[in-house]
Symmetry: C2
Subunit: 303 residues, 2 copies
């Protein structure tokens, strides 16, 4: 009688722990810069208006900077700021030699053309990787500031030594900041990369069957618990980019955070899976810090 092989035990892709290692490495580099009497990297975040989610994100970024020794400033502008005024602020930061990189927290108030603002940022200071020059270099496989979430996913795959070459990677969601760039990066001649990539979106037919054919499933579709166990191949690697706040009777706060993947059931089938929270989220902030350190090194002529 032959014994049936037992499924590998599922491994949690611990973004919090991995981001911690990344941040430790960044902090070490920053300390070395300071020891050598070189100015620490400096990141500026521009926050227009008082959107609560944006305030939370910007605060989290500031805290993360502090934790690794990166100097951080926040420019808080009133919601009635005009496009012209914001362009002037961007121009000022483009020319401020004390600033290595800066981000304009999105979304912006509706009277401001976001794309115009993004294109006004000096690509060399665009640590969010949203400027067309950086997007283009990314698509061409040239060194660039990569957008933080896709870069964080790639880093997570790398640090867990997950084989991606020749695997079928299915990406759900085609946003310009996650789905589209990660689908490009996963198909490139790199490691991680070299996957056969299928990009799915709202017009995709048979999304369940396509998802279920994935060796690596990256979900950035923005729908709470959209991916159920029947949409996942046994032993697939599952990356959940979604984050949603939903009411809960089980928590003190009265709410909990869930992803685009139904974690309880999918985690029983996957070989590797990111939790929410504590998966892709912390990696995103680490990616921003890494880009800021990179900008500072370029500015100071350090390899």
């Amino acid at each position: 009688m032959r014994l049936k092989l037992i499924h590998n035990i599922m491994v949690l892709l611990d973004g919090k722990k991995t981001a911690k290692s990344l941040k430790d490495e960044i902090a070490k580099d920053v300390v070395q810069m300071i020891d050598n009497e070189i100015e620490a990297p400096h990141l500026v975040a521009i926050l227009v208006g008082d959107d609560p989610a944006s305030q939370t994100y910007v605060s989290a970024k500031e805290k993360a900077c502090q934790s690794v020794g990166i100097t951080s400033s926040i420019y808080r502008l009133p919601s009635k700021t005009t496009e012209e005024e914001l362009l002037q602020t961007v121009d000022f930061l483009n020319n401020d030699k004390e600033v290595d990189g800066f981000i304009v927290q999105l979304p912006l108030p509706k009277h401001i053309n976001e794309q115009r603002i993004i294109e006004s940022i000096d690509p060399a200071k665009d640590v969010d990787g949203f400027h067309p020059v950086n997007v283009g270099k990314m698509a061409l496989g040239i060194d660039a500031y990569l957008p933080a979430t896709p870069a964080g996913i790639i880093e997570l795959l790398k640090r867990y030594d997950i084989e991606t070459e020749g695997k079928h990677c299915v990406v759900l969601g085609r946003s310009n900041i996650v789905g589209s760039p990660i689908s490009i990066m996963m198909g490139q001649k790199k490691n991680p990369g070299n996957s056969t990539v299928t990009l799915c979106h709202s017009k995709t037919k048979n999304i369940k069957q396509i998802a279920a054919s994935a060796d690596i499933l990256i979900v950035a579709i923005g729908k709470p618990e959209f991916v159920t166990a029947d949409m996942v191949k046994p032993d697939a690697v599952v990356i959940d980019v979604g984050i949603h706040r939903v009411p809960s009777k089980k928590t003190k706060s009265g709410f909990k955070l869930i992803g685009d993947v139904k974690f309880d059931e999918v985690s029983k089938k996957a070989s590797y899976i990111t939790p929410v929270p504590g998966g892709v989220g912390p990696m995103t902030i680490a990616g921003l810090l890494a880009n800021t350190l990179k900008a500072a090194k370029i500015n100071r002529g350090i390899n």
Copy 2:
């Protein structure tokens, strides 16, 4: 007794004819510019060295310009031209107000860094759509100079009114000038577009099965007659980007042109198919002319 439905008759995607219509439209616009005493568009091609294929391409582009009334100049530089000298030529053309757009014919001699040259071109004059700014805008779905071959494929799908939304589009080949950009464009929220796109390449496993699952199969893999009938779904749309010159006893010249697709057998199975020659090739040149006209209109403030 029910009659078995007869397969639709295969339709040839006639790139030569379609490019002719496109060129007629461009010529009409140019005539109108001249009638209004507005300078005709002006395209410059820089040709470094004496690669025979490059000379053929540049001559074909010049001839196409003449056929639609676009002024065309060729800068012929010796193969020993230094990178610095070529950068100076690019800089001169960037600043020459009489030039609407220019291209640097690739490949360049090995001692010149191609990427450095491409990045030195003013994106507003980059009618090849190779500059990272244009690649980035394309990837973001923003108006840009699109690379001519993918743009030609999109135009062909549009003019033959081929339904692409929700279809499975498989792209074979991930080059920066064809496979990668067309895979991005076919997945975008546009028409043509909105396909579920799978990008395959040298590391893809089961490439035959994946190709055979395509409603729209775009082949840019650079291997003569790589795609055989067994790799094609009945009634698929097949776009062949390859072009190879092979010996032939049947032709006077002693050679013939073939594509990446085994036309004889695949054409019996496909609903639409591009021939080689006369398919994607003529559309590519038309795309370049369209970009040049667009640049001229922008420069002269014409909508």
